[in-house]
């Protein structure tokens, strides 16, 4: 894994985080991770969430945690928070920095 850099990028999640988007989401986050880019994930637009997307967000969050950092979520929408809560992942969501 590359070293931490000072610059931060904003990644805006689309409205719909469904199975069709899962592969793209993983590739995107993996790319940020491998480049060591500090990324703020903007979840303000998200209106529909499915479990595959939550798995990817969680895997990303674990990877960031393993580097001693905290994943950052900007303005998570109600839909995203509800999905995490319904899936029993309240605690996992609380590990993200939110702004």
């Amino acid at each position: 894994m590359s070293t931490l850099e000072t610059n931060t990028e904003n990644y805006i999640l689309p409205q719909v985080l469904d199975l069709n988007f899962a592969s793209e989401l993983r590739s995107m986050l993996l790319d940020k991770l491998e480049k060591g880019v500090n990324t703020t994930i903007d979840a303000s637009n998200v209106s529909r969430v499915t479990t595959p997307a939550v798995q990817i967000l969680l895997a990303y969050s674990k990877a960031i945690n393993s580097e001693g950092r905290k994943p950052t979520l900007h303005n998570p929408s109600e839909a995203l928070k509800t999905a995490f809560r319904d899936l029993g992942l309240d605690a996992e969501l609380s590990q993200w920095s939110t702004n």
């Binding site: 199975l19 592969s23 499915t50 895997a59 674990k62 319904d86 899936l87």
Partner: protein
């Protein structure tokens, strides 16, 4: 139930029955959904729609049709919430429901025919359904508070004590790929009572190692509810092949995670494409086993059975009983040989004849079904095609209850689909064009059916642009279908739309315009023993009329004699018969003969020459000319020796026992046991007489003056069938 005791034949039969039921359920569902576009559905309507979707889902689950199950599950969930009042009925919801109905019907059709459809075919509508569900579950807590808990099985358990359940749900990796979503299951469980959800993420690999479409989470739910275990199992009914599931009451907690020997283990057999490694332990079991071989062979049997009104069967059985008694009576009379035996036998035979006729009608009635089943498919078609073309079309149907033989109904679907598609594409104008022409923006297509004698009459009329004869003729000349100097009447020009490869569409679209439509329609209709006619007024609209016999099993025929042979002419084609005066018969240039009748010339066709019958009358003025009308409305004079009489004949297919014979559509057995051939008027009209006779008598195989040679050489051409004599005479 295992494969060893449950053969592929049984499965195929059940599968065929399932699809028959699907067709009925979908027809009913579509009709109710269409009503929702204009009025709010009451609970009875919603329940009926829900039951239809639920039944389709259950059957699809039994046959391993996962895609169908998944979509209908979501559809059903929405309907359930709708009838609960958790989702309000409005135009948007109704539109989505109608679209969902269309998708469901298409998925059923694809499953039935084993057709591949695009992977994302239902995605858009499924997303809309999910969206509505999420809207209702996410931001509308007031709705949820008002909602009464209700299970999808409609079995609300009254005032039952609350029980604590522990549910272990471990999805297989492919859960998502089978379009299942745990969030929806969790929402269903939430409706049952108090739910605590614990997610096990320990199997989640690193982001780099994970497969984005695999399922890695598993869950333990603690649910306090007054619902039964079966209710809970039903929530997981359609994921049970994609997970390991255990549901236990709090008293059973110690057994949590293990198979409890005391629990009934109704193990679901794996679907054809799922892993058989782990068996789920859920109580609920689908009504039938998944069909490993369900996809194979069922297609050919799909229409092998029909469902019949019980009253009709009872009537048939009674009639057969009467027939047996009459037969026994006749036998006894012959044995007794009384002095008035002759008179009694005659009376007995008369009774037998009456009963036999009635018995035949009963049997025919069994096969009769309302055309509703075909008509009901059309609103969806209209919506789809009109939507694609940005046109506004209102379909009005009349006479859906008109009954016709089931075989005819099945064969009607394609021609009607073609014609309605064509009406929307070529007939109905876009709203702006209509408004400019002083018409309402919304076009109207009327589809009606009615009985006329032993035929069914179907009209398809539209208030569109009508046929532009000038353009049609120009196009026909450009394509070489008619010669530039042809003198065609308006009706003959209209008939050109049935010419093979003919299309006046300015651009080929995916709706129509490839010119393969109307000639195929005519062939299909003629294949049913029927006819199709078109009437059109430019700027006002077009009306197609289909005249089709009610059944393909029997035919009202006229027995005619030619030499020593007897043939059957379909009675519906016969206009009249006459013995022409010698002066009425004329030789025409290029060969052949025509007969003049009331100022009109009709081409004469000699059966004896076409079928090589020796000893037949060769002079029409010594025999008879039977004037018949072809599907295109053209007339033909068939020269025969004499008319024997009218008789209803049972049609026997030549193809089953012999090879196709040009000019013959089938055969029948006459009362004396001899086989008589049934004449195919359409083919006769296009046939030329055999060469050796042509050289002697008429040379009818010569040129066709107003038509090009390549067109004239097509015996089945919808343009040249029977058109020759009129065009030839007209051009002289």
């Amino acid at each position: 139930m295992s494969d060893s005791s449950f053969g592929a034949n049984e499965l195929d039969r059940f599968r065929a029955t399932f699809f028959e039921e699907c067709a009925e359920l979908i027809a009913d569902m579509e009709s109710r959904l269409s009503c929702m576009l204009t009025e709010t559905a009451d609970s009875e309507e919603l329940n009926a729609i829900f039951r239809a979707v639920h039944s389709i889902k259950a059957g699809a689950g039994a046959f391993g049709l996962k895609r169908l199950v998944t979509f209908s599950h979501t559809f059903e969930a929405l309907l359930d919430w709708l009838r609960d009042g958790r989702i309000a009925q409005d135009e948007r919801v109704a539109t989505i429901l109608v679209k969902a109905g269309d998708i469901l019907a298409a998925l059923v059709e694809a499953a039935q025919q084993g057709k591949e459809i695009a992977a994302d075919f239902e995605t858009e509508i499924a997303n809309e359904l999910h969206g509505l569900l999420e809207e209702a579950s996410g931001g509308t807590s007031t709705h949820r508070a008002k909602a009464e808990p209700k299970s999808t099985s409609e079995s609300v358990t009254p005032a039952k004590a609350t029980v604590d359940y522990r549910i272990s749900f471990s999805p297989h990796a492919e859960l998502f790929r089978h379009a299942n979503e745990p969030l929806l299951l969790i929402k269903e469980l939430e409706r049952f009572g108090t739910l605590h959800t614990f997610c096990d993420t320990s199997k989640l690999p690193s982001l780099a190692a994970m497969e984005p479409e695999d399922a890695y989470f598993s869950w333990t739910f603690e649910l306090s509810t007054n619902r039964s275990k079966a209710d809970i199992a039903e929530v997981f009914e359609f994921v049970d092949q994609d997970c390991i599931l255990d549901i236990s009451e709090s008293a059973e907690e110690e057994a949590f995670g293990l198979f409890d020997d005391d629990e009934p283990k109704a193990l679901n057999e794996p679907a054809p494409d799922s892993s058989p490694a782990v068996a789920p332990t859920i109580e609920h079991k689908p009504a039938a086993e998944p069909a490993q071989k369900a996809q194979s062979g069922a297609k050919s049997n799909a229409n092998a059975t029909i469902r019949v009104d019980l009253a009709r069967i009872d009537r048939l059985v009674n009639m057969v009983g009467e027939l047996v008694i009459t037969q026994a009576m006749l036998a006894q009379q012959i044995i007794d040989q009384g002095k008035d035996q002759g008179q009694q036998a005659i009376q007995g035979h008369e009774d037998l004849a009456v009963l036999t006729r009635e018995l035949q009608e009963c049997v025919m009635a069994i096969r009769m079904q309302p055309v509703k089943s075909v008509f009901q498919r059309m609103p969806r078609l209209v919506r789809e095609v009109a939507g694609k073309l940005n046109k506004q079309v209102n379909l009005v149907t009349h006479g859906e209850q008109t009954e016709v033989d089931k075989t005819v109904i099945e064969e009607l679907a394609d021609p009607l689909t073609h014609m309605i598609r064509n009406s929307i594409d070529h007939g109905i104008e876009t709203p702006d064009v209509r408004i400019a022409a002083g018409k309402p923006a919304e076009g109207k297509i009327v589809l009606s059916a009615a009985h006329v004698g032993s035929n069914i009459l179907i009209h398809i009329s539209d208030d569109g642009a009508g046929i532009n004869r000038e353009r049609l003729l120009k196009k026909a000349i450009e394509k070489g279908i008619v010669t530039p100097n042809a003198n065609l009447s308006d009706e003959e020009i209209d008939e050109l739309i049935f010419a093979p490869g003919f299309s006046t569409a300015a651009a080929v679209t995916d709706v129509s315009g490839r010119g393969v439509g109307m000639d195929v329609v005519r062939r299909n209709i003629v294949g049913l023993g029927g006819r199709i006619q078109v009437q059109s007024t430019f700027g006002k609209g077009t009306r197609f009329t289909l005249i089709i016999p009610l059944t393909l099993a029997v035919l009202d025929g006229m027995i005619v004699a030619s030499g020593s042979e007897k043939y059957i002419l379909p009675l519906t084609s016969i206009i009249e018969s006459f013995r022409p005066d010698k002066s009425q018969v004329r030789e025409i240039t290029g060969g052949g003969q025509v007969a003049s009748i009331r100022g009109e010339y009709v081409r004469l066709v000699y059966l004896c020459k076409i079928f090589d019958v020796p000893g037949a009358v060769l002079e029409p003025w010594k025999g008879l000319v039977v004037l018949v009308e072809t599907a295109s409305g053209n007339k033909l004079g068939i020269v025969v020796d004499e008319l024997i009489g009218q008789q209803q004949v049972v049609i026997k297919s030549l193809l089953d026992n012999f090879t196709p014979v040009p000019g013959i559509s089938g055969a029948t057995i006459l009362g004396n046991g001899r086989v008589a051939l049934i004449l195919d008027i359409e083919q006769l009209a296009g046939m030329t007489e055999r060469r050796r006779h042509a050289t002697i008598d008429g040379r009818l195989s010569g040129s066709k003056p107003a038509l090009l040679d390549d067109q004239a050489s097509q015996p089945h051409s919808d343009v040249d069938d029977g058109a020759l004599p009129r065009l030839a005479v007209g051009s002289r």
